[in-house]
Symmetry: none
Subunit: 405 residues, 2 copies
Amino acid sequence: MKVHFGDCLNVLPSLRIGSIDLTYVDPPFCTQRQHRLSTRDRTIEYSFDDRWKSLSEYGDFLSERLRVIHLALAPTGSLFFHCDKTASHIAKFLLDEIFGTANFRAEIIWHYKRWSNSARNLLPAHQTIFFYSKTDNYKFNTVLTDYSPTTNVDQILQRRTRDQSNKSVYDRDDNGNVVYNGTKKGVPLSDVWDIPFLNPKAKERTGYPTQKPVFLLQRIIELVTDPGDLVLDPFCGSGTTLVAAQSLMREAIGIDTSKEAVALTKKRLKQPVITESFLLKKGLKAYRNADETALSLLNGVPYVPVHRNNGVDAFLKSTYKGVPIPVRVQKHGESLSEAAAALRKAASSKNAHRMILIAIDDIPTLFPDPTIPDSVVVVNAPGLSIKRLLAQMELEDQSGCHAET
Amino acid sequence: MKVHFGDCLNVLPSLRIGSIDLTYVDPPFCTQRQHRLSTRDRTIEYSFDDRWKSLSEYGDFLSERLRVIHLALAPTGSLFFHCDKTASHIAKFLLDEIFGTANFRAEIIWHYKRWSNSARNLLPAHQTIFFYSKTDNYKFNTVLTDYSPTTNVDQILQRRTRDQSNKSVYDRDDNGNVVYNGTKKGVPLSDVWDIPFLNPKAKERTGYPTQKPVFLLQRIIELVTDPGDLVLDPFCGSGTTLVAAQSLMREAIGIDTSKEAVALTKKRLKQPVITESFLLKKGLKAYRNADETALSLLNGVPYVPVHRNNGVDAFLKSTYKGVPIPVRVQKHGESLSEAAAALRKAASSKNAHRMILIAIDDIPTLFPDPTIPDSVVVVNAPGLSIKRLLAQMELEDQSGCHAET
DNA sequence: AAAGTAAATGAATCAGTAA
DNA sequence: GTTACTGATTCATTTACTT
């Protein structure tokens, strides 16, 4: 783990290294802006300038450095070039020229979800990473992911053969039974990567602008290097690449033109903080609690579902006295007064004067005070109305029968 | 709906059209391959040649045509240019030059899942669509999607203010309660679109190579045009753009250099086959279809769903005078008396004395006799009850204000 | 007019704290 | 220990306004 201060254009040749296994390049994106950010305690401000006279000036800047970087790579080495839509086409031209079109391996899309107030456009939610190898003989570790739930796993395990017209068909043995053919391990990793954006509250955050998540770098490093290999980041910024390399037992060299960035990288390597994304581990499903069929009861009224609150299932888009109206659908096995209490408790701090509770069943309560406050309006689900109706009809029926006899 | 045979370079100027609202360009991607595919019955083989002497030859081909296409656009018009990683950088250069960098709106990633046995690489799972407008004053219909389940919906409805150090914080009233601030509608559509690849077994498939799903085109068309607008596809191929435009009540012009493609497009327009996605979308727009709504609305009462009956959606398992009770859920745009009539007509042969109609909306009737027979019991869906409640609350609110003055 | 600066915005996520 | 729920934070933003 070495961190150098200076411009990679000058630093790299002086290091005389020719056996880099992976270079991750995360240069300025040509945003024509000055980027600034501070640590949370506001003691240090980090910044870098991304303003250029022209596209060609930017292109020249990249071109010079990419040539030096190309030289430093081992024959089995790879380059990952991170950029966004503003200058990806320029980078692609240069990379094709320097590495050769034949060594262009993949265009990786890093897809994430973000907050923004965009109105008259699509919300930007991706960046691009170009993957080039130095030669045809490049190191690559196949990563397999799970099959999609819709995949007919049983069938893809079966042996295949060709019929008379040379069409590929699934094979059968003499008894007409399917024949299995070894095991399958999964689906190769795709070139679209859904990795959460570095969260505003994440501990991993250093205060350096444009910081990338460690997980993204870990995936790149694991894809094309083995433990002990050497990783280079010529624009190392906050040092994410080095932290990721360290966590995966790879060696790494970082270079940056900012003294603050170099200091930060060194500090991070001593005390690495890697946030374990709950979202990545558990997936979105872990957040879903409000039942979808339950919410479809609200059909016809505009509402926003709430997924993270045990008391409130949705807010109506209409407001009452300026406050959105919380809605709860009575849960299975829950009495109406219990439901009302849960709703009121969850809504108490929200200043709501009107709440709506959808009743789905008559459940006797064990609750000490079985009254429902005035602020909670109870609306019956049709199922409940019908149930009561049926009971009533049955009564009428019986009395009718009695009258006849 | 017009389909022209020929090269758009020659055909477009001869059409003398200057008010195209949307052009979708899906040219050869510079794959250096001859693309062939046949219809399932193998009677027709479609093919097009995508082999080029050099990148610059390909660039010249595009450049000439893009200039003509640019001229044909209305001032509020947009261009969507479909390509993949092999030549996206060339296209971007040309588009920046012809449309102006300032009119580059978005780089859309069409992400799909596809099976492949790619071994020493990532699985290609995306294509790129560049979105350019002719001017700053372009037509754009904001599309909103649902919030992520992890979103703190409670909080984003709250008003914000600035504290002493000018930091943005959530506001509280004098009692320490949160203050709400209007309503939210949802998240703007992102620039990464997860749309399934045209299924190998889809009915929608025509046998034309590189056929795109209709759903993809529908999304593009809805994003930047209104009904009645004019859509152009200068490389129309199998005619997907025209089929999508037709389904959304837009006019369209298609051009192709292949006689077979032109014939296929004309044939598809007469008998459009749109698989699932379209149905799915229509269903969503109409707030789900009756079956699903019926299912969830009846939750709690045992019932048997009925398919293929225009009047009855389900039968309750309970009986009245020995006859199962038919249930209908009021359809969208259907008045209650119309619904009751349909229900009674369908149930007449069933000898039913009691029917249940679930009301979902107040729709004024055009029906001669707007009465509902006694045998039909009307039960309100919660959505309707809430709608009426909201209207009532609004009235109270207003009268309250009057009383104060 | 173009360009540059200041202000407003927005939703996704994890860190805390409370239960 | 767990498991809720609340709140803070951003910003390779976007928009509005001023030079």
